[in-house]
Amino acid sequence: MSEFRELTRQGLWENNPALVQLLGLCPLLAVTASITNAMGLGLATLFVLVGSNITVSLVRQWVPQEIRIPVFVMVIATFVTIIQLLMNAYVYELYQSLGIFIPLIVTNCAIIGRAEAYASKNPWPKAAFDGLVMGVGFALVLMLLGGMREIIGNGTLFDGAELLLGDWAAQLRIELFEVNYPLLLAILPPGAFIGLGFIIAGKNWIDAKREAKAEKIEKTVTRARVTAES
């Protein structure tokens, strides 16, 4: 069980694909102008990641070492095609607003990275779980960034959520403040770079604080020992 806990910790925080490995930045930066888009792409990536991890793990005994990368790419491309057709059929408007970035999930390094680094060396239940937490970690960062950019740029949250979640989600839309002039920079690509920079800085800040705390506790322990010896 502890291995699954470790995987969760790695995927969501310690080794988060977007914040630490810095993989898959192209879709991360391009489609996070609103939280709905971010959620759509996050879920698509999550699905592909879990599917490809399971498949790669199942066929790992039969794939020769030399041609493993083409095989992984074929597997990933298959899942991407599936999700692309599904989105085209059921969430057409979101499919249009995500555009080229759905087929581009194939080139998302986070997915092939997990296939190579984890799924090709571990049994399928673990690989599936790894895909799940990595995908969730990636999707959470996408949504955080999408939310930040949507609030700063447009003053809204969950605008257009009904495109992804069905008609009931139209009431999810929150208008935090009215903007006469949207802060275009937040919605344009530079805003994505600056926003991601702030999120990574925030993560590093939290890590540094935790480390400082842990060190303090250690120090008190050693001092207690010294007094006991002398």
């Binding site: 802060l183 275009l184 920079l185």
Partner: protein
Amino acid sequence: MSFRIAAAPHGHSQQSTSGMMRWVCYALLPGLLVQSYFFGAGVWFQLILAIVTAYLAESLCMMARNRDARSALRDNTALVTAVLLAISIPSLAPWWIIVIGTAFAIIVVKQLYGGMGQNLFNPAMAGYVLLLVSFPVQMTNWLPPATISSHDLSLWQTLHTILFEYTPAGYSVEQLRTNIDGVTMATPLDSVKTALSQSYTLDEIFQRPQFGVLAGVGWQWVNLAFLLGGAILLQRRIISWHIPVGLLAGLLIPAFVAHLLAPSVMPGVLFHALSGATMLGAFFIATDPVSAATSPKGRLVFGLLIGFLIWVIRSWGGYPDAVAFAVLLANLSVPLIDRYTRPTVYGHARGDHNGN
């Protein structure tokens, strides 16, 4: 008696950062006065807003970093950033424009990179680009110069417009820009760019009311006043000649050649030299010692690159003026410029640098 040994370099210019920055502000005064004569007193309100925002932002950052805020404010670098940004934006822009721009310049562009002397980009210009990209309408709403404008704003009307976006009588800035014939008066650079795209020739464009003897009405004198301020800085050795000369050469030589080849569509030397932010950029913005190249040769290349980029963007780019974009692009190239213009150490062979 103590015999302290000072560290090299022993030659010292006897100028403190604080004093140099104060002189930069003094040298901006002629330009500021001319600008407020032609474009209204709004620039002084923008100046106050910018300085207050810059000082608040700088103090907050220094306190968050557990540093002494007062010593940081005393070096006057935040003051120069604020003043440059206030001069660069239209004088009737709404108050939150300058506040957002200055706060971004100080907090993100300057302090997040490590504060004074550490920033990669010119803070004022990065703030300007943020504003220009985000609020293109407000950032291009320059009033026509007072001498040809059909509206005359009092101090109170100016302040009211900056605070509430309308004059007390309910005119928007867009309406104030319209002349008596109902035509919106664009800036000289803007009108040249638009009219050229409508297949007018330069001769026809220069007949319009916003063009004077040398270049645009008002703008020509603003630029000459900034040139005067730049001469003061050069004379007091606050800046060296390399960047301004490089910038003007990079801008004016291509402009001269292009004007010879295509006189009806490429504006000439005078127009480029005395329009938009040319002189302000050459003497006050590009000469920021932190984000410019380091060696004299490097600075010449840096200036040439900015000037050439200004000419290219003015001629074919999407925006009428280009000083901010050109400066930021050149800031990006500074490490490369520094690498290839490293001076040879005395006693070493040419190109013999330590390490390679």
